[in-house]
């Protein structure tokens, strides 16, 4: 009766399963968990929403205001958004997401004002600016040289 011995052994050794919900210990610090966005640093470029394969991240603009939303229920935790985020405002948790019972319960929506980056100068204007600054520097140089004491007297 091997089966009865097996049953007795099983009863003696105790259970290997656990009751849910339980506190799960992550075994890796590279676990792909929920995405977080730093609202202070986000510039609203929407690159994350553009690369998201499941549309878990959405960015809706209304003028300078925009809302950034993230639905973990749709997320595949591929981390493409994090790779694409230039200001590095997106981060990923390295722990299990909490259990939830209603659709969209963990959804995050951030309302933000778009921070426009300083516009870089166009090439023509940049060239003109460079020329003008060079001329100003050249004109100022002799005067400066005359005023400045000779650092190394001739021997």
């Amino acid at each position: 009766m091997n089966i009865l011995k097996l049953i007795l052994d099983n009863l003696r050794q105790g259970t290997v399963s656990y009751r849910l919900p339980h506190v799960h210990e992550c075994t890796s610090n590279q676990y792909r968990g929920l995405i977080h966005n730093d609202a202070e640093r986000c510039v609203g470029c929407a690159a994350c929403a553009y690369v998201c394969p499941t549309a878990a991240i959405e960015v809706k603009r209304a003028g300078d205001n925009y809302s950034w939303s993230y639905d973990p229920g749709k997320c595949t935790f591929c981390s493409r958004c994090i790779e694409r985020c230039r200001p590095n405002t997106l981060t990923m948790e390295s722990k299990l997401p909490p259990l939830y019972s209603a659709q969209g319960e963990l959804k995050t929506v951030l309302e933000m004002v778009r921070k426009r980056p300083a516009k870089p100068a166009t090439p023509a204007v940049a060239a003109a600016t460079a020329v003008a600054s060079a001329a100003v520097n050249a004109a100022a140089k002799p005067a400066t040289a005359a005023l400045a004491p000779n650092p190394e007297p001739a021997k």
Partner: protein
């Protein structure tokens, strides 16, 4: 209806006792099997919450299925099992039962199985039909032994009145018949190794494949009541007569609980039999036991 019958139907061992006790039996079986397989098993109130959850669900309407009939079968099963429970002579000294109530009990215990078969055919599911056929075959197989055992008990006491059936404890035929009934119960409860009719790995839930929501909840409740009615029948047959009412109630519960544990061990220790092997078991081996019981009893009566 007199007071004793009212108490039996609505309080003990009927409605008030049997429904929670049925859920408790289902939980105990699941828990015991789980622990024997090194799983933690469900919490105690799981069958109750399952029922509440199922009752609250809305079942989508499906065309081509007679929904009212599908709802009628589990309701009929519950009613017949409550009737069977009311007939169980837990307190026989109180003038319980009537002449021939044993025959009514056998019929009431068989009605859920018939409803189960009909549910499979009515559901229009292929898995349901396969499960219904298996249940029908298994029912024929185990009822041969079950009926022979009941007839043996009746022969020992010269009556089919349930209150008297447990009275011939000195007769070896009585105990052989009780063993025969104990052997039939796993098939009636669709437990391993006789779970072919609801073999979840092969035919999903068999006749209950198309069931959902409240109707499925009623079936689960009926299954719990089946546990109490069948284990309770064995308990009433082996309990000593003349015990005070509280001792009889405690013995009834204790024997039923012991049987739940026994069947859980059997369910955990065995794999599912094929239909052919199940029939062989009942008609070739258990039937021998039942025939031996009735022959020995008849011989003893003839000798006396």
């Amino acid at each position: 209806m007199n007071t004793v019958a009212m108490i039996a139907l609505f309080a003990f061992p009927g409605l008030l006792f049997a429904i929670p006790a049925g859920w408790l039996s289902v939980w105990a079986e699941h828990k015991a099997v789980a622990r024997m397989q090194r799983r933690i098993g469900p919490p105690m109130l799981q069958p109750f919450w399952d029922f509440i959850k199922l009752i609250g669900k809305r079942t989508p309407a499906r065309s081509g299925i007679e929904a009212n009939l599908l709802r009628l079968y589990p309701a009929l099963s519950i009613l017949s099992l409550l009737g069977a429970l009311a007939l169980l002579p837990v307190f026989p000294q109180n003038g319980h039962g009537f002449s021939g109530d044993g025959i009514l009990l056998v019929a009431l215990l068989e009605l859920p199985s018939i409803c189960f078969i009909l549910a499979g055919f009515t559901s229009g599911s292929l898995f349901g039909e396969v499960g219904a056929v298996r249940e029908a075959v298994l029912s024929v197989a185990n009822n041969l032994v079950f009926l022979l055992a009941m007839v043996t008990l009746a022969v020992t006491q010269d009556t089919f009145q349930l209150a008297a059936l447990g009275g011939a404890k000195l007769n070896p035929g009585h105990w052989i018949a009780v063993i025969g009934i104990v052997l039939c119960i796993p098939a009636k409860l669709r437990l391993n190794p006789f779970s072919t009719s609801s073999a979840e790995q092969e035919i999903y839930s068999g006749p209950l494949t198309e069931y959902a929501g409240a109707a499925l909840g009623l079936w689960q409740m009926a299954h719990g009541l089946e546990w109490i009615a069948l284990t309770g029948l064995v308990a009433t047959l082996v309990m000593p007569l003349g015990a005070p009412w509280w001792a009889a109630a405690v013995l009834f519960v204790a024997i039923s609980a012991a049987l739940v544990l026994l069947y859980s061990i059997v369910a955990a220790a065995t794999a599912r039999f094929t239909l052919e092997r199940s029939i062989n078991f009942y008609w070739r081996w258990a039937a021998v036991l039942a025939v031996l019981a009735i022959v020995s009893t008849v011989c003893m009566r003839w000798h006396a």
